[in-house]
């Protein structure tokens, strides 16, 4: 397969034009074509959550999404979360609560957490655990992730 197609992607408020094969995933387009390596590849099969991004505000696994499927939709990655140098409350809470160690699952955790709060699924620790369960962390930062999401949810609400 050598046929390439034009794909227009709207990422973090910036417009990108790519010429890629239709089989290129959103994850590989971000990482290999656009240098947006904040979104991580952990399994490439939708099993680990490391590649979580937002498409039209909803959390999506970039490894299970073709880049072409995201055309014309608003994509937000970890690089686009902080506004004018100001950390998103979830990012600040992750730092404060030490909600990561190696940092590799962290962008996906943070993108999931932002959506989890927005979905109204951060009402209790148990609810946070359940709605954050799609993002694996092998370093085992889970208790601190729960604490960070709880803290950020309160800040976002206030």
């Amino acid at each position: 397969m050598t046929n390439t197609i034009p794909v227009h992607l709207d990422i973090n408020g910036h417009h990108h034009e790519l010429r890629i094969e239709p089989r290129v995933t959103l994850l590989d387009a971000l990482r290999d074509r656009l240098g947006l390596t904040g979104t991580k590849k952990g399994c490439d099969h939708g099993q680990c959550g490391a590649c979580t991004v937002h498409v039209d505000g909803e959390r999506v696994l970039a490894c299970l999404t073709l880049a072409a499927q995201a055309e014309g939709r608003a994509i937000t990655t970890i690089e686009g979360l902080a506004r004018e140098g100001e950390l998103h409350p979830v990012q600040a809470a992750f730092l404060e609560q030490d909600a990561f160690q190696c940092g590799y699952c962290t962008p996906g955790q943070i993108m999931s957490a932002v959506a989890c709060i927005r979905e109204g699924h951060a009402g209790s620790d148990d609810e946070i655990r359940e709605y954050m369960a799609g993002n694996l962390c092998r370093c085992g930062a889970y208790p601190h992730i729960v604490a960070a999401v709880r803290q950020a949810a309160l800040e976002v609400a206030s």
């Binding site: 397969m1 050598t2 094969e21 089989r23 290129v24 590989d28 990482r31 290999d32 240098g35 947006l36 390596t37 904040g38 979104t39 991580k40 590849k41 952990g42 399994c43 099969h45 099993q47 680990c48 490391a50 990655t77 970890i78 690089e79 979360l81 902080a82 950390l87 990012q91 992750f94 730092l95 404060e96 030490d98 990561f100 160690q101 190696c102 940092g103 590799y104 699952c105 962290t106 962008p107 943070i110 620790d125 946070i128 655990r129 359940e130 954050m132 369960a133 799609g134 993002n135 694996l136 962390c137 092998r138 370093c139 085992g140 930062a141 889970y142 208790p143 601190h144 992730i145 729960v146």
Partner: protein, 764 residues
């Protein structure tokens, strides 16, 4: 239970920025914004992409590889097979043992396990390489494989005499003991499964090789690459600024790295090669499956008179891995008679490797389950029996402990957990249809010590720079070295920049065995002290210094400013002083090697593990210690086990940064919960192949599996273990978690599960 306890304060009560303070991760901002570039995320001109092809049989020979279709596929640059890849030289092992004088081919003709690399496709894009890799046709002459330890062909294996430990007459003492227990304990293949898959970018410039690769040991891996390609060590540069988890699996250069470096050399282009997630289950070894029998003879008061221990671990057909199964057995309890022996059994597997607390982890599952069984046999509380058999000195080395706050850990943990409210009978605590069980177990890990180098520079603007080829895979190296340099020189931690993860920097040994923090804080402390001495020396003696006229013997440097000890002189910033004396920087190298060490010794120290100091060197036996208290809830009808509460008290000596140490401890406990309840490599017995080689089927804990975990530091500074008083942190906390859970499950259900993981079919 009566225990007199002194609750050690390992946190120093220090300011956040000083050693012992709760400074947030200094590499945190890069990691939470996506700015942290991991090794294979470097953007390089002309990058080509490699994908591996692996064997689908576990034993036999490659008959032929048909690359025709793959070579004709779009974008393909080269298909590498054992016949077309360039030849390498064999490299020495991690002890530095000279290699056999024969070539090394990272692609296999002789197949010793399923998933062995047999070919690789290099193409212009990742998608093209992956598609073409599926077109490579490999035919085999297959021979019967030994699937695992339970295979009838496996046999009893090879006796590893170096693992034998004997004192007293263990067999006779057991035979005459009034109380005797004997049980077998098994652990399955387990996998490190770091979130970042293994992979690398290799680039040649003439005979110089640069490798961007996640690495727990830059200098060790650089040595291997250099030996493979027959180039000087200095010609190989390893770059590994961030590592997405290792847990033991990223310490050595592996065959996929050799393939990528060969491809880059053959093509004259940089090549990126990353394992797929399934390939990470066979591209390197996880924890070996183990079998142990533990036999304890005791009196009616539960006092141990004899322990007889026999262990077996699997290794590969052509490699050797020994998982030291007697390591905790021989030191946890005072016993007058002891015997431990171990065999290894060859099976058709990739050679197993290091995974968080190799040896100690399965060893503790055996002895810490067995002592629980003894407690029930003699009718003594499981905590009390551990105290009755408390080892006041190292029973094996017959030396004093450097520090052992285990009694304190038991006391503090029991108090916080509420152990006194436990009713001893199995099935005696319940909440509706949930059976509740409380279990306890202890853990330990030896203090491994080695030497390190670091350079500390005080720059013209008064900031401080630290350089070391050591690494940070999440343990917090960046942060604790910033704290060490900040405190030693007398500047704010914000004014320290720590540069790690480049083999061009001063050398460091492996980030493994929980040794790096102790080694590197020592080296940075030494370098920073030397830099401070130079700074103060200049301030006192240079005629251009405002302090010159004071004729002081020393000066105070704090918060980036220099003053006289009594505060009765000038008060100038470090930057001003350097400007006054006309210096643009001060630089000091610190290394902790003995002063008379030869260049060869130094090379050996940083590129092998042969120079590591024994933990029983001199007068003391050095270990970290912990006690885990666990509550489980078992559904009476379905047998599902949930861990609902964990309290662990841990002695890692002085903590350089309690915030980060607590994170590592909790991470170890969580990996232990996975080991106890979820993790198991499942073999397809027909093909000798791991079936669940992905993150949906190899179950690691998710957020929903993990309850609140309380960790409590009971350590005190240990001057015999490291320069600044710390002991190991990273591996300790997983040790003892699985037996604590198994013991809790017994308390809940009355069923003793001796075969991990504790899955529901073992309970119903």
């Amino acid at each position: 239970m009566t225990v007199h306890t002194r609750h050690g304060d390992a946190s120093d009560g220090a300011l956040a920025e000083a050693v012992g303070g709760r400074l947030s991760r200094v590499d945190g901002p890069a990691k939470i914004t996506g700015a942290a570039k991991y090794a294979v995320e470097q953007q390089l001109e002309g990058l080509a992409y490699g994908v591996l092809v692996e064997s689908t049989i576990a034993s036999g020979k490659v008959r032929a590889i048909d690359t025709t279709a793959a070579e004709a596929a779009p974008g393909v640059l080269r298909v590498l097979t054992p016949d077309t890849i360039i030849s390498l030289r064999s490299a020495s092992d991690w002890f530095g043992t000279p290699p056999p004088d024969k070539p090394y081919c990272p692609l296999a003709r002789d197949i010793a396990f399923s998933g062995q690399h047999v070919a690789a496709v290099i193409a212009e894009t990742f998608e093209q390489a992956a598609a073409a890799a599926a077109l490579v046709k490999v035919s085999y002459d297959e021979t019967p494989a030994i699937v695992d330890l339970s295979d009838g062909k496996a046999g009893d294996g090879i006796s590893i005499d170096a693992m034998t430990k004997e004192w007293g007459d263990a067999q006779a003492a057991f035979a005459s003991a009034p109380v005797r227990i004997c049980a077998a304990y098994n652990t399955p293949r387990e996998y490190q499964a770091p979130m970042e898959p293994h992979g690398l970018i290799a680039r040649w410039e003439g005979d110089r090789l640069t490798v961007w690769e996640p690495s727990q040991w830059l200098d060790g891996m650089a040595r291997t690459y250099a030996e493979w390609f027959g180039v000087p060590f200095e010609n190989v540069r390893l770059v590994s600024p961030y590592i997405g988890g290792g847990f033991g699996s990223k310490a050595l250069a592996l065959s996929h790295g050799a393939v990528a470096a060969c491809a880059a050399k053959m093509l004259g282009r940089p090549v990126r090669l990353v394992m797929t997630r399934p390939q990470t289950f066979t591209g390197y070894g996880g924890r070996a499956a183990t079998r142990q029998t533990v036999t304890i003879g005791a009196d009616h008061d539960g006092l141990i008179q004899s322990i007889v221990h026999r262990g077996v671990n699997e290794t590969s057909i052509d490699g050797m891995w020994v998982e030291p199964l007697g390591s905790v057995t021989s030191i946890m309890y005072a016993t007058p008679n002891f015997s431990s022996r171990q065999n290894v059994v060859r099976v058709n597997s990739v050679v197993p490797g290091a995974m968080r607390a190799p040896g100690e982890n399965p060893s503790a599952f055996g002895i810490e389950s067995a002592i629980d069984e003894l407690a029930y046999e003699v009718g003594i509380d499981p905590l009390e029996i551990r105290l009755r058999n408390y080892a006041e000195q190292d029973p094996e080395a017959k030396k004093a402990w450097s520090t052992r706050q285990l009694r304190e850990a038991f006391a503090v943990g029991a108090e916080r957990f509420g152990w006194a409210r436990r009713t001893p009978e199995p099935r005696s605590m319940r909440d509706g249809n949930q059976l509740i069980g409380w279990g306890v177990a202890a853990g330990t890990y030896p203090v491994r010590r080695a030497y390190g180098e670091a350079v500390v520079r005080i720059l013209a603007n008064g900031s401080v720079e630290v350089e070391s080829s050591s690494i940070d895979m999440g343990q917090g190296t960046y942060t604790i070295l910033a704290q060490t340099a900040a405190e030693t020189v007398g500047v704010a931690a914000d004014d320290v920049v720590v540069k790690l993860g480049d083999s061009r920097f001063p050398r460091a040994g492996v980030a493994g065995g929980s040794r790096l923090a102790g080694v590197m804080t020592g080296a940075v402390h030494k370098a920073a002290s030397a830099a401070l001495d130079q700074l103060v020396g200049l301030a006192i003696s240079d005629p251009r210094s405002p302090f010159h006229a004071l004729q002081a013997n020393t000066l105070v440097v704090a918060n980036g400013r220099i003053t006289a000890p009594r505060g009765d002189g000038p008060d100038v910033s470090i930057a001003e002083l350097l400007k006054n004396v006309g210096r643009d920087h001060i630089e000091a190298m610190g290394d902790t090697m003995p002063a008379n060490s030869s260049a060869e010794d130094r090379y050996k120290n940083y590129t092998t593990i042969a120079m590591a100091l024994p933990h029983t060197e001199g007068d003391y036996s050095r270990h970290s210690w912990c006690a885990h208290f666990v509550e489980v809830r078992v559904d009476e009808d379905f047998g599902t086990v949930r861990v609902s509460r964990v309290v662990s008290a841990l002695d890692s000596g002085r903590l350089y940064n309690p915030k980060l140490a607590e994170s590592q401890w909790k991470g170890g406990i969580i990996m232990g919960i996975g080991q106890a309840l979820l993790e198991e490599g499942i073999m397809d017995r027909r093909h000798g192949r791991i079936v669940n080689n992905n993150l949906a089927d190899y179950l690691v804990p998710t957020n929903a599996d993990i309850p609140d975990i309380e960790v409590i530091s009971v350590g005190i500074p240990d001057p015999h273990s490291s320069v600044l008083g710390g002991k190991g942190v990273g591996e300790l906390a997983i040790v003892g978690v699985a037996p604590a859970i198994a013991n809790a499950v017994f308390h809940a259900t009355g069923k003793r599960v001796r075969d991990l993981p504790i899955t529901l079919e073992k309970l119903i």
